[in-house]
């Protein structure tokens, strides 16, 4: 291009005028100015792009980082035998009959006791009114601990309990005394107690591993929700995508690139693969619902269905990048291999494919990263709702038991009523972005390390 414009830019006949090389004439000045302007446009475009990226990242980090910490209340909970094990023989099946509703009053009493010990006055006569300070999940936490270790019954045990989402919001500045004025979940008196509990060291805000590794929680207890189980869902889906899309994609592109004759039929296939890459992902979701769930009767909400749908979506990406990297291997390599008597297949598998491998892997990783962040098709195959509540029991369960995926979980959190879930949605985005960034970095490293230029 540059050569061509250079040639035609020269005036055909030499002009007779006094021109110094040092003083540029009007035409040159115009051309230089145009170039300067163009550069400025380019820089402005990049600056605008960077600005929005920065705004996005700052917003995500500012809204999302609070989700990684959580407020905890550390108190001693008395576990009286007459309430938890009436028969007294520590029989687990007997003890299971006491439900979380039986445990909740114990936590209320423990809170009242802890406040009394710390010398904190409460305006509430009834210990039950203190319940709003701690999460609704604490009764289950205490019950699980007792059932795991029946020897605890009859003793007092120190528990670190999750605080309620409103208390947590107060610690994070999201909830204020003005905003709770009309809130029936908590009152300003509770916040006064919390202030004194902080001073007494009973309440603290610390890193919450439950957010990264835990399961989803119901609407009424955002403080105990975590993204861990849906992360596993995403992991199993990616396994399916990798195991199906990579071999199928590579096989298809090797055949198309190395073996297939060029005719109208292969042209048609090529065009269709390019078209497939541009199909909106929601279409694959409808296809998945119709084919995998309604026709093939695979379980709905299962990661294997999600994986199959995302495989369809990722295939074109992998085929296109694989074909590009196969094309980039110079024909001399093939000719040399064929020349010393290698068969066509030996040529491909011993020489061409290893050389194209970095490109193929890069394309695969980028395809996987794309699939990891995809939400739309998952909405249709039942992966939103209150799904990611149980960690899969076994490897097979990981594929077949209902589960969510990270982006679907974020979508679900973002639409829940409690504002505390909004914060968790941003936190989930940070985790998802970290995964995407790591995958892209691996792709770049692979390319840098192993790519060969000829």
């Amino acid at each position: 291009m540059t050569d061509a414009t250079h040639g035609t830019a020269e005036p055909a006949e030499p002009r007779r005028r006094k021109a110094s090389l040092y003083a540029s004439d009007a035409h040159t000045r115009r051309r230089n100015a145009a170039e300067k302007r163009f550069r400025a446009y380019g820089i402005a475009a990049i600056a605008i792009g960077l600005f929005f990226l920065l705004v996005l990242l700052v917003t995500i980090v500012r809204n999302g980082t609070p989700a990684f910490t959580q407020t905890f209340v550390t108190i001693e909970v008395a576990l009286p035998a007459d309430k938890l094990d009436k028969s007294g023989n520590r029989d687990i099946e007997e003890m299971k009959k006491v439900s979380t509703f039986g445990y909740a009053p114990l936590v209320d009493d423990a809170l009242a006791e802890a406040l009394a010990q710390a010398g904190i006055e409460t305006p509430f006569a009834n210990a039950k009114d203190l319940r709003q300070i701690v999460s609704a999940s604490v009764a289950a936490q205490v019950r699980d601990a007792v059932l795991a270790d029946p020897a605890l019954v009859g003793t007092s045990h120190e528990f670190r309990l999750l605080a309620a989402s409103r208390v947590d919001g107060y610690m994070k500045g999201r909830v204020t005394r003005e905003s709770v004025a009309r809130d029936k979940n908590i009152s300003a008196e509770h916040l006064d107690i919390v202030d004194q509990m902080i001073a007494a060291g009973l309440v603290e805000r610390r890193f919450n591993p439950g957010f990264v590794f835990g399961a989803d929680a119901s609407e009424s207890r955002p403080e105990s929700a975590g993204i861990g189980v849906s992360m596993l869902g995403s992991f199993f889906m990616m396994l399916v995508v990798l195991a199906l899309a990579l071999p199928i994609g590579v096989a298809a592109s090797i055949y198309l690139e190395e073996f297939a004759t060029q005719n109208r039929f292969t042209d048609l296939i090529e065009v269709n693969i390019s078209n497939l890459a541009a199909v909106p992902s929601i279409v694959f979701g409808i296809l998945g619902l119709a084919v995998f769930i309604q026709f093939a009767h695979l379980p709905s909400s299962a990661p294997i269905v999600g994986g199959l749908v995302l495989t369809l979506m990722t295939l074109p990406t992998i085929i296109i990048s694989t074909r590009a990297s196969l094309k980039a291997v110079p024909p001399s390599i093939r000719e040399a291999a064929l020349g010393v008597g290698a068969s066509k297949m030996q040529t491909v598998f011993h020489h061409v494919l290893p050389l194209a491998m970095p490109g193929i892997l890069t394309g695969t990783i980028i395809g996987l990263a794309q699939a990891l962040g995809e939400t739309a098709p998952l909405l249709l195959i039942g992966m939103v709702g209150f799904i990611a509540s149980n960690a899969p029991a076994s490897f097979a369960d990981g594929f077949l038991a209902p589960n969510s995926a990270m982006p679907a979980q974020i979508y679900e959190w973002a639409k829940r009523a409690d504002p505390a879930y909004y914060e968790r949605a941003w936190g989930g985005i940070i985790i998802l972005l970290v995964f995407l960034m790591v995958m892209n970095i691996i792709a770049i490293i692979l390319r840098r390390r192993f790519e060969r230029r000829w």
Partner: protein, 343 residues
């Protein structure tokens, strides 16, 4: 390539072992996004207190849930459909055509529908159904004549209302909430303002007039929200003059941003809804496939647990979240215990 082989073979092994262990041990629920919060609270408590795994609750809307529910009997079909409206006859027929004949209808309680606006916005503090109809209907009665809705501000038809542009975000037609909004607000307002009479006097048949009463204006002052209440909340946040339609529970979780208006002079609360004073409320249901009881472990236990006093009673976690407890809960409990199906 060995990595690929490894993953491929492990996937194959997983698939083989999966077919051996395909029996579902988890209750599957789908349906209304209004019921979802309550169902998720119950499912979580169920998982904590029973040896069964936590049930899976999908969202997607009442109609989608019932459609899925009616697809047939068998392990791969859902066990329960949550619904924010009663099942329709057409749906019962569709169910029967696919072999789903014995359906247990469980009413879990009542849900209030409230009108709320920005906390610092205009003083929308009290509405009547007639106000909402005058603001949002395509044709209203002005000076005894049925004309195209001329109103652009609330105080043009009711001087007690603020001098603010009319803008309302209402649930889209795929929501069960829309039906309640139409029947209990718009239709009532239609009658109260005399528009229904005017339409019949204008030559419409009674049925046509009643249908015409449910319409909302299409000039951009009434906006359908197809998403969830969070979307309505975001729209309200961006428009100080707007009012929005919310569920009571959603409003109660967002009192720091929203203020609620009374309807026909009654403040919405669990008490006024349960006493029947607050006019805009509706029952919430879920439907259980009787053929699955005894096949899917935990299904009956989940159903009974859902409507037990400690969960759905007036002091239970559902009431705490915003459900208006059903005064006839005991009858529902007896019905579920006997596995009585719909007639």
């Amino acid at each position: 390539m060995s990595f690929v082989k490894l993953t491929a073979s492990s996937l194959a092994i997983a698939a083989v072992s999966a077919t051996a262990a395909a029996a579902r041990d988890q209750v599957q629920v789908a349906g209304s996004s209004t019921v979802l919060p309550y169902a998720s609270i119950v499912a979580e408590a169920f998982g904590e207190n029973f040896d069964f795994p936590t049930p899976v609750v999908e969202s997607g809307g009442s109609s989608a849930g019932l459609k899925k529910f009616c697809q047939g009997v068998g392990e791969e079909q859902s066990d329960i459909a949550n619904s924010s409206r009663k099942i329709r006859d057409a749906e019962i027929e569709a169910c029967a055509a696919n072999g789903v004949t014995d359906i247990i209808e469980v009413r879990i309680g009542y849900d209030g529908i409230v009108f709320a606006s920005q906390l610092d916005g205009p003083a929308y503090t009290s509405f009547t159904q007639a106000d909402i109809f005058n603001a949002l209907a395509p044709k209203v009665v002005v000076n005894g004549e049925l004309v195209d809705n001329p109103y652009t501000k609330w105080n043009e038809f009711n001087p007690d209302l603020p001098d603010a542009e009319i803008l309302a975000f209402i649930p889209g037609t795929k929501h069960g909430t829309r039906e309640v909004f139409e029947e209990k607000v718009i239709a009532v307002g239609c009658e109260a303002t005399g528009a229904l009479e005017a339409m019949i006097a204008g030559g419409m048949s009674e049925d046509d007039a009643e249908d015409a009463c449910l319409a909302v204006r299409a000039d951009g002052r009434s906006v359908d929200i197809d998403g969830d209440y969070t979307e309505t909340l975001a729209s309200i946040d961006a428009n100080a003059n707007a009012i929005g339609v919310f569920g009571l529970a959603f409003y109660e979780n967002n009192t720091d941003k929203l203020k609620v208006a009374t309807m026909a002079g009654v403040e919405p609360s669990t008490e006024t809804i349960s006493s029947g004073e607050y006019p805009v409320s509706r029952p919430l249901y879920f439907y259980v496939k009787k053929a699955h009881i005894g096949v899917i472990p935990g299904l009956k236990e989940y159903t009974e647990f859902f409507i037990s006093d400690e969960i759905a009673g007036p002091d239970g976690p559902l009431a705490e979240y915003g459900l208006v407890s059903d005064p006839e809960l005991a009858a529902t409990q007896a019905m579920v215990a006997n596995e009585e199906t719909m007639q």
